[in-house]
Assembly symmetry: C2
Homo-oligomer: 129 residues x 2
Amino acid sequence: MSWLDEISWDKDGLVPVIAQEHGSGKVLMFAWMNREALALTSDTKQAVYWSRSRQKLWRKGEESGHTQTVHEIRLDCDEDVVLISVEQTGGIACHTGRHNCFFKKLEDDAWKVDQPLVKNPEDIYKPIA
Amino acid sequence: MSWLDEISWDKDGLVPVIAQEHGSGKVLMFAWMNREALALTSDTKQAVYWSRSRQKLWRKGEESGHTQTVHEIRLDCDEDVVLISVEQTGGIACHTGRHNCFFKKLEDDAWKVDQPLVKNPEDIYKPIA
């Protein structure tokens, strides 16, 4: 019996994953993994997710270079949510060029952006010449 | 247009929610909210989730007393994940009687429990006499 069998995969064979920054404790992003992605993440210590929109493995940083080195993998009480602690290459986890994805804060019944761009997305995702 | 309309609710009208402890930054739990739960959470500053298993509002702490006072509500780049920062009453977020739900750590291809019980669940959830 593999540790992977202990996970309660959802009907699509996925598990939600929270990526938290090692050291700062900031929540960087939320994504999904299937069995192969989680096995690869554990084996390589590099975060690999499952892209639901593209329906394929998403090796975090494959285009941006903003890979995530995994320090720790945790499972919750119900065995249906994974929490990983990662070191974020480039200090940018979000595709918008920000440190993390949770840059909209509710203030006076409105979402206010309170995180600066670390880098412009156009400079992260360069078109192939 | 309400701030609630800006959220990309899933096909079941839900949004995944990560609850992080104010101060320590520990990820306490992961759950779901519907529109009513999130509106109540914002209005009352007490976390209210949607229980998918019971199909009803779940006022966190309604049985255990382990309520969560909300300091901050955040939304991610894709507007489909919510992150809340909370103060955890009793220091117990998990129904197992532990500080948080992520007490299983992957070590040598096995899940190891590395958090003690703060309180026995039998002492938290008392049967109604």
